[in-house]
């Protein structure tokens, strides 16, 4: 019976197409190796949660998916990272295009000190949208998708910094959506929010799953179990286990996963 369940799980993973394919990924901060050969596929229009104790490499891994680690000096990548079929570390790869296709939401909301409208319109403008009506359309659509429109539609010209923490985080999600990405990376998107705003962001993630491929790093295991379809457990730079979230949280295959999620170490 177990064998059948595993079979179905594999079947499901291959039935949907893979948006991000990572193979033998090693990552170095100077001489120190932070990721020891990670191989992992991220399926389309699913939420994949990365969990693990601090320093396990989950955030480093997330940042390799849109080359955010390039900004850190003295780092090095080995192995293959394919996003939407392209090797993103290939020489000459268009970084601006990568950032458009792979949006990112950070732990602390970081709106620009501009109006709500300008925050959302910024990305599309950079990518060449000039027409006011089109921009307005994109702004409204993005805010609606981020479940923020009704709360801000009458104050589009006010500063984004006047929004609450939870609203600011949803604004940042709207900003990421505005450039029409296919993959959204989220690094602890709700860890600085109160329970109500956290619930709003989690609901939003579940909504967005229908249109986007989402990878989320979270320290909150209940959050991983609530919002994700797949969960990957990282430990000391290794991917220990990747499985369907309900299976991983009821009956993990690996002892280390079980020990971590039940609080026996970590």
């Amino acid at each position: 019976m177990l064998a059948t369940m595993e079979y179905k799980e594999t079947e499901q993973a291959t039935a949907t197409s893979v948006k991000v394919h990572v193979e033998g990924l090693r990552f170095f901060y100077g001489a120190s190796e932070a990721l020891h050969g990670i191989t992992l596929d991220i399926p389309e229009k699913q939420v994949t949660a990365l969990i693990g104790p601090s320093g396990c490499g989950k955030s480093t891994f997330l940042r390799t998916l849109n080359r955010m680690n390039d900004l850190i000096e003295n780092t090095r990548v080995e192995g293959l990272v394919e996003v939407l079929g392209d090797n993103i570390y290939a020489p000459g790869y268009d970084l601006a295009e990568l950032r458009r296709r792979v949006g990112m939401v950070f732990q602390r909301s970081n709106p620009f000190p501009k109006t709500i409208f300008e925050n959302i319109a910024y990305g599309p403008r950079i990518h060449g949208v000039r027409d006011r009506a089109t921009l307005e359309e994109i702004v409204e659509k993005s805010l609606r998708n981020a479940a923020l429109w009704d709360e801000v539609k009458d104050r589009m010209n006010q500063s984004a910094l006047g929004l609450s923490g939870g609203q600011q985080q949803r604004l940042c999600i709207a900003r990421a959506l505005a450039v029409d990405p296919e993959v959204i990376l989220m690094d602890e998107p709700a860890s600085a929010l109160d329970p109500r705003s956290t619930a709003a962001v989690e609901d939003l993630i579940l909504e967005l799953r229908n249109q986007y491929t989402i990878v989320i790093v979270t320290h909150n295991m209940q959050q991983a179990s609530r919002v994700s379809d797949f969960t990957a457990f990282f430990y000391e730079g290794d991917l220990v286990e990747l499985g369907k979230t309900p299976n991983l949280f009821t009956c993990p295959r690996e002892k280390r996963t079980e020990d971590y999620i039940t609080g026996r170490f970590g």
Binding site: M1, L2, M221, F249, T250, C251, T257, T262, G263
Partner: protein
């Protein structure tokens, strides 16, 4: 927090084992009361059933508390779910003990020769042994033993079937003893239920150990 949680899990475990022991004792006394037609012992069994019911509620509340406060996962979640189910099986076995004890007063007042044909002892021993083994499999998380328990229930079912035939024959040939025969049937049916509950417990032990639901699989 974690230490506190694991302490609560240990407490849940020891409470379910304690209930198991209480129920085992009740069943033992109920069977002895029938065997020796000991009305006092039967009354004690019946009156003690309240304690079992109370303990069942306590354990369920404890499990709900741990679920709500700690949101356990993996083995801890499986253990709590299994304990909640085993808890209600134990309470039901407690009821069967009470039901068996309940026949003693009538059987004592209406003693008859038919008793010789009532293979009560064999069936009672088998049901008790199966129940005890299911508890052992729980205590030691013993998958092998739990699997054996699941297979062992068939024998008790068979004994119950022959008991049914014996009762049917007895009523036909000695209609004056119909009351006695109906009580034999009641005892037999309750012992058969003990076997079923022991099987449930063993299935929950298997779920706890393996993480997938074993129920109904071995039947096919």
């Amino acid at each position: 927090m974690t230490i506190h949680f694991h302490r609560e899990m240990e407490s849940v475990k020891s409470q379910i084992l304690r209930l198991g022991t209480m129920v085992e004792e009740q069943l033992y006394h109920a069977i002895r009361a029938v065997e020796e037609l000991d009305e006092d012992l039967a009354k004690t069994v019946i009156s003690q059933d309240d304690r079992i019911d109370q303990k069942e509620v306590e354990i369920e509340e404890e499990c709900l508390k741990v679920l709500a406060l700690h949101q356990p996962v993996a083995i801890d979640l499986r253990l709590l779910v299994a304990v909640m189910k085993i808890n209600s099986d134990l309470e039901r076995i407690g009821d069967t003990a009470s039901n068996i004890a309940d026949t003693v007063a009538y059987l004592k007042a209406n003693q008859s020769d038919s008793r010789k044909s009532f293979a009560f002892r064999t069936m009672a021993d088998k049901a008790r042994a199966l129940f005890k083994r299911s508890l052992d499999s729980l205590i030691n998380m013993d998958e092998q033993l739990a699997t054996e328990v699941c297979a062992g229930d068939a024998e008790i079912d068979e004994l119950h079937r022959s008991m049914y035939e014996m009762v049917e024959e007895g009523i036909k040939s000695h209609p004056e003893n119909v009351g006695v025969y109906l009580r034999y049937l009641r005892i037999s049916r309750n012992l058969e239920r003990v076997g079923d509950h022991a099987t449930n417990i063993a299935e929950d032990v298997l779920y706890m150990a393996r993480g997938h639901i074993f129920r109904h699989v071995h039947e096919n």
